[in-house]
Subunit: 294 residues, 2 copies
């Protein structure tokens, strides 16, 4: 489904006088039907036990299939069990994985092509009418905030708060997924197209954002004992059903989601005095709700 953009959202992109959204964000969510929601796919979900809790990551196979496959292999081999959070840089990123960079990768690839962009043609890109500082066009792809350049026939996931990416060295093909990072500050969108986004954190961000900032260069912990142990990382499919996160996530390719985005862009019905008449794609937070276990 392509979103049918509300008329007011289109006006918002063209006028300096901010219009009023048709709905408040709350009502936009209440008016959805069951078909506007989806469950997390256990095959595309990671559970990372760290800092006394569990960080839940939704993987992004539509953006970097090869990296996501490699990360699944690493996870199933137990590669991340006993690794650590090694870097916490204020207003930028938390990075984790094998600090030694020597742990055997088993059946996983040691390096992969960059994978930071995909062909735009054929991609289920649900465009939104909002301006963006970085890209000609923004929207969502299967729940992930994204951008597109139709002239270049490229699309990519946006480095929004909570995006998970593949760390690498100077060479574009030097990342394996053995070191991952997430964004903990204002979206560093200059990383877009330069680093592969492979997921987003859907629960447990506070377990990472509250960690002590590293005092070394780039926020690396200077002493090995400062590193924060990662007890284990499991693929959702390998987590007992009773332990899984039972949530539904709003689909991002529906008219209901476009109406919700419009409400986020024009917040007068949410009690704001002035509607800004636009919204940063990173601020269209995808709604999530608890559901019964299957």
């Amino acid at each position: 489904l392509r979103p049918i953009l509300p008329l007011l959202a289109l006006l918002a992109a063209c006028s300096t006088k901010p219009p009023i959204a048709e709905l408040s964000t709350q009502v936009a969510i209440e008016r959805t039907t069951a078909a506007d929601w989806r469950r997390l796919d256990p095959a595309d979900t990671l559970y990372m036990d760290v800092n006394g809790g569990t960080v839940v990551i939704e993987l992004a196979p539509h953006f970097s299939r090869a990296h996501v496959d490699n990360i699944r292999t690493l996870v199933r081999e137990g590669f991340f069990d006993g690794t650590s959070v090694n870097r916490v840089q204020e207003n930028y990123v938390v990075q984790w994985g094998d600090a030694t960079e020597k742990k055997p990768l088993g059946a996983a690839q040691a390096t992969l092509p960059l994978g930071a962009e995909v062909d735009a043609k054929g991609l289920d890109f649900a465009a939104l009418p909002y301006r963006d500082a970085y890209a000609p066009e923004v929207g969502f792809v299967h729940g992930f905030p994204a951008a597109r350049d139709r002239k270049a026939d490229k699309a990519w996931a946006a480095h929004c708060y909570g995006a998970v990416g593949v760390g690498r060295g100077e060479s574009p093909d030097s990342g394996s997924g053995a070191e991952l990072y997430t964004v903990i500050g204002h979206a560093p969108r200059h990383l877009d197209r330069n680093y592969a986004v492979v997921g987003r954190i859907v629960q447990g961000m506070e377990l990472l954002t509250t960690l002590p900032r590293g005092t070394g260069q780039l926020g690396f912990y200077e002493r090995a004992e400062e590193r924060v142990p990662i007890k284990r990382v499991r693929l959702g499919a390998d987590v007992p059903e009773a332990e899984r996160l039972n949530v539904e996530i709003m689909r991002t390719d529906t008219p209901a989601f476009a109406a919700y985005a419009d409400a986020r862009a024009n917040r007068a019905r949410d009690g704001f005095l002035v509607s800004m008449g636009g919204v940063d794609v990173c601020n269209i937070r995808v709604p999530m709700r608890p559901v019964e276990a299957r």
Copy 2:
């Protein structure tokens, strides 16, 4: 001074093919002269002792003179001494001040007009050529990221990471500065024009961002003992010179700053594979450097 915008930055705004900046960010900083920097003004600086350290806040009198004056009065009366951080909401704000909302305000005003916008005419607004999701135009005013709507003759400070604003109730004129907040996640720019920005944190963000998230509604701490004590807040002018933060901040109204912003928008010279050809005003982090005490 108005910035003389580099030709490449102008091209960046009009072309989908990202150009290469003239300079790397590092070289743009190195090429500055002494006149491109300014010291923090002790009359416009707050020192807040909290969580084992000191948060340093630069005030924004150009945006909300009445609020800044009122906050200076509160600070000099010792109003904030013994108050607390009361709310920490993930990817949104940290809020502090008088949790009881009953502490006497002394000579300070109990309420003030909203003060979230100023007249654009006559304001020293250094415009930049980058697109913005929220406003027709962005730039800087005396070191603060800002936006402008020339048709409406209004300008306002942007709610970027580290911006400090005035908490208030439903009524626009219900804020006194007795409760303040700062942004700890992706810029919630829908607060622009709705809440008065009165400053920005220039040092010590990590003392606030690492605090435990509140488990109550809107991230408020549920029990009084969870609140994080604020030992004291002092105006820079009242802080002994030996204890002051000795830094220079890059001026934002110079050609040197425009060249730096251009480097942030087009990062190929910083080692990135793809220059995004634009930058979010909240990601043009204003450089700061240590200097000798006077």
